[in-house]
Amino acid sequence: MKLPRKKLTASIPSFAMGDIGFLLLIFFVILARAQDDSHVRWQPAKLKEVEMVASPLASVTIDTGFKNYLDGKEISTDALTAALSQILGDTPSGKRYVFLKVHKEAKAIHFEPIIAAISEAGGDLVHILEPEQPASSQ
């Protein structure tokens, strides 16, 4: 008589799945942060009537040190037009949104050449601002 062998079942240990997922997420978060401009330090100016704005194709920021950034990467004013034209490509007018985030202490000498570069690249300029709260009457 032949005795049947016990079948060994191989199961994937699911105990560590949460940890693996967590580490993967951290990895992708760090990767994403390298592409966006959330690490650029700037404070928006305030204006009374602002509206919600659509998502942009590119984002240009002037930071607290008055340096220029295109999608989080530092760029010179001279190189901005060409870089923007490449990003905007053949996107039809009206959808070529470019966000301009200017630090509130910036002067015309800093932001006017940037506006000119966005205009030259054919971008639809959107100034990112903070809504001004009405002064509370006491």
């Binding site: 967590f22 704005v53 509130k104 910036a106 015309a108 000498i109 000119a116 030259e120």
Partner: protein
């Protein structure tokens, strides 16, 4: 003699803590991603090197400095500027005549500049920037 019972240590189940952290991260990521941004859209004519002098003379000119706003040569305060500009633009019927040329001093602060540009757009003007082009001269 009384025998002492061994105390049972009760640990919180640690196996689920990574899953909780995962869900919390997802929650904060989604919250951060959906935070809306506010601002104003601005339509600017495409940058040109030169414009005709004849057209420039017809346009309304606004000069901005940190302390003053000058509309066609007359200095104004910020609260005086909107009615004066609206009355100046009311005489203009054609789009090309509604162009407002803005010239800013290099030290004009951004909050003032954006307020002035908003007033121009709300009054129905077409904002155009006049920039001073830099010229680099190399001396050998």
């Amino acid at each position: 003699m009384k025998l002492q019972r061994g105390k049972l240590l009760i640990d919180p189940p640690a196996s689920a803590s990574s899953d909780i952290a995962f869900i919390l991260i997802i929650f904060f990521l989604v919250c951060a991603a959906v935070q809306p941004e506010t601002g104003i859209a601005q339509i600017l004519p495409k940058t040109e090197e030169k414009s005709e002098k004849q057209d420039q003379s017809k346009n309304i000119e606004v000069s901005i400095t940190p302390n003053s706003i000058v509309l066609n040569g007359s200095p104004l305060k910020l609260n005086e500027f909107p009615p004066k500009l609206t009355s100046a633009l009311s005489k203009k019927t054609r789009d090309e005549d509604r162009v407002v040329t803005v010239k800013s001093a290099p030290n004009t602060p951004y909050p003032l500049w954006i307020k002035v540009s908003q007033v121009i757009e709300q009054a129905g003007g077409i904002l155009t920037l006049e920039l001073e082009s830099d010229r680099v001269i190399n001396v050998e």
